[in-house]
């Protein structure tokens, strides 16, 4: 069990530091690279929680597709890459710090109150439950209609993005 704890804490520290890097860095390309660290850490946490299919989907779609889209967006908007001081931030930073700390405090107090001391029981049956076959049969038995709705949503987003970005 201590190996899992060690892995969790290494990943958690890396993810927290990289997340702060995303919102603090003055170089926008570095922000995208910090985001890769957070997303890869999340995928590793999924593997730790025996959800391997979701972990690889996370690697393929987030790190493979979404981050590349972000890099395209950075290039196409000619964002400052040399680090232009605080030009990337607006002047409501301290208000944002107060709001974020307040929400974090409320969430932690609520979680400790609701789930304090509750444990995730690991073992072979958790691994068996997370198998890709189980996820697939659940997806296509219980969630077939939402699955089709999501494919329509993707089609609508595809057409919407083309219509928005097209030059007339």
């Amino acid at each position: 069990m201590w190996e899992q704890q060690l892995a969790f804490w290494i990943l958690a520290v890396a993810m927290g530091a990289a997340a702060l890097g995303v919102v603090r860095t003055t170089n926008i390309v570095h922000a995208a690279l910090y985001l890769v660290v957070v997303l890869a850490g999340a995928a590793a946490q999924y593997i730790l929680l025996a959800a391997e299919f979701v972990a690889w989907v996370q690697v393929l779609i987030y790190i493979g597709a979404v981050v590349i889209l972000f890099l395209f967006g950075i290039m196409l908007t000619r964002a400052p890459m040399g680090g232009e001081g605080r030009r990337l931030d607006n002047d409501q930073r301290w208000g944002a710090v107060v709001v974020a700390l307040f929400v974090f405090g409320v969430l932690v107090a609520m979680l400790v109150d609701a789930f304090g001391g509750e444990e995730i029981r690991f073992g072979s049956e958790l691994v068996a439950q997370g198998r890709t076959g189980n996820v697939g049969s659940d997806l296509f038995r219980e969630f077939l209609v939402p699955f089709e709705v999501v494919s329509m949503l993707l089609l609508a987003a595809l057409i919407g993005a083309v219509v928005l970005a097209r030059r007339d």
């Binding site: 997340a19 997303l39 999340a42 889209l69 908007t77 964002a79 990337l88 944002a96 444990e119 219980e142």
Partner: protein
């Protein structure tokens, strides 16, 4: 392992995302902060899936990932349009509705 360590990690990521959405001026960086918040939600769903022995949590995480991909596509198209019209990706220049 405590379930709370996963939940508090995801609460931390969510709050960092809130800070980024509120404090960043560049549209692409605001979208990245939204991705942080969506990821926090996915970690929550997977942790509850392992806690409650229920595969539905993983299916929901898959849906969140799909919808995040669609959101980034449309969001970046909108940021691109703002850049083309105002020649700047900064969101606080979009203030034409301000009286």
């Amino acid at each position: 392992m405590d379930i709370n360590q996963f939940l508090i990690l995801s609460a931390f990521l969510f709050c960092v995302g809130i800070y980024g959405v509120l404090a960043r001026r560049n549209g692409v960086l605001v979208l990245m902060s939204i991705e942080l918040m969506l990821n926090a939600v996915s970690i929550n769903l997977i942790a509850f899936s392992a806690f409650g022995r229920e595969v539905a949590g993983q299916v929901f995480a898959l849906f969140v990932i799909t919808i995040a991909a669609a959101e980034v596509g449309v969001g970046l198209a909108i940021v691109l349009l703002i850049y083309r019209n105002l020649s700047s990706p900064d969101l606080d220049e979009v203030d034409q509705l301000k009286g």
